[in-house]
Subunit: 148 residues, 2 copies
DNA sequence: ATGAATGCAAACGCTTTGCATCGTC
DNA sequence: GACGATGCAAAGCGTTTGCATTCAT
C-alpha cells in the first residue's frame, strides 16, 4: 500500500518523504473529508514529530498535482479528500455535518449548456446540496414528540 | 428607494439605522458580489465614519434574515449579494474572477433525486461552474499567437 | 557539501469580540 | 436614564511564511 502510494507521489513529481507519505496515506485510507487539524492528529500517530506546517505544505503539493481535492463546505475551514477516480458531488447535513457523496452524470450536460450560453470554457464545477440527513430528521421528530 | 429598503429591514425585524440602510442599499444597488472591504469602501461615501465591524455585523443580520447571501467563490474570502428573487447559480472565471449568474431549473429536479436516494431533506444547494470566460479566452489566444 | 524538506514560532488576512461611547426613545 | 447600535482596537482562528536545523544524496 505504502509502496503504491509512494509510486503515485513520484510519478506526480512529488518527492515521497516519510511525512508526505503519512499524509497521503492517511487521506487515502480515511476516505473522509478531513480538516488540516484532523489530518495532523491522525498523522502524528505514524510520524509523531510532524508539524502542522508540513501538513499544509504537503496538502498544497498534493492538490497542485491533482492527488487531493480541497473543499469548503458550509463556508467553514478547508477539508481535504484523496481525489476520487471520477468526479462526484456532495450532500451535506447542515445539522451534524455528515457528507455523502453522489454523482449525477446528467449534471455534466446541464452545466455544459449553461456555460455555452455564456461562452465559458469549463474547467471544473462544484455542486453541493445542503439538507438534513435521515438520522437528524429522526432525532428531530423524536425531540418534538417528547415536547408534547 | 431608501424608504422601500427601510421597510424591508423593519419587516424582517432589523432596526433600520442609517448605517444598516447604507450597507443594504449599497448591496442592492451594486448587483454584484462584493467583499466586506469593498462594501466598506462604498458605504463610507454615504456614511463616512462607519467601521468595518458594523459592516460585518450588518451583513450577518441581513444574512440571518435571508436578505443577503454569502458566497466563497474559489475558496477566497466571503462575498455578499442582495438576495435575488429566485435562486440562481454561478459561473466563475478562474482567470479574471468575473461572476456570471445563470439558472437552470432542471437542476432543481436532479438534486431532488440525489437527495431522495440518500434520505436527505433539502434545505438549499449551491452549483458553481469554474471556467474561462470569453474575454480571457480571447486574450489567451492573442497572447499565444504573439508568441509565435 | 549541497539543496530540499521540516519544525517551530511568528506573521498574516479575514472576521469576530470587548468595551467605552453615542444615539434614540 | 436605559438600551441598543457603533467605532475602535485587540483578539481569534485557520493558514502561510521566515529561518535555523535536519535529512538525503
Amino acid at each position: 500500500m505504502a509502496q503504491r502510494l509512494s509510486e503515485d507521489l513520484k510519478s506526480s513529481g512529488i518527492h515521497p518523504t516519510q511525512q508526505r507519505l503519512s499524509v497521503f496515506q492517511t487521506l487515502t485510507e480515511s476516505k473522509g473529508h478531513l480538516s488540516a487539524e484532523e489530518i495532523h492528529g491522525l498523522v502524528k500517530s505514524k510520524t509523531p514529530r510532524i508539524g502542522l506546517a508540513t501538513i499544509y505544505r504537503t496538502l498544497h503539493a498534493l492538490k497542485e498535482k491533482g492527488l487531493v481535492e480541497e473543499h469548503r463546505f458550509n463556508d467553514e475551514f478547508s477539508r481535504y479528500e484523496a481525489k476520487p477516480a471520477k468526479h462526484h458531488d456532495h450532500l451535506i447535513c447542515i445539522e451534524c455535518g455528515k457528507v455523502v457523496e453522489f454523482d449525477q452524470p446528467v449534471i455534466e450536460q446541464l452545466q455544459v449548456a449553461a456555460a455555452r450560453d455564456n461562452h465559458f470554457s469549463i474547467v471544473s464545477h462544484r455542486l453541493e446540496i445542503y439538507g438534513i440527513c435521515e438520522t437528524c430528521q429522526k432525532r428531530r421528530a423524536e425531540e418534538s414528540s417528547l415536547r408534547l
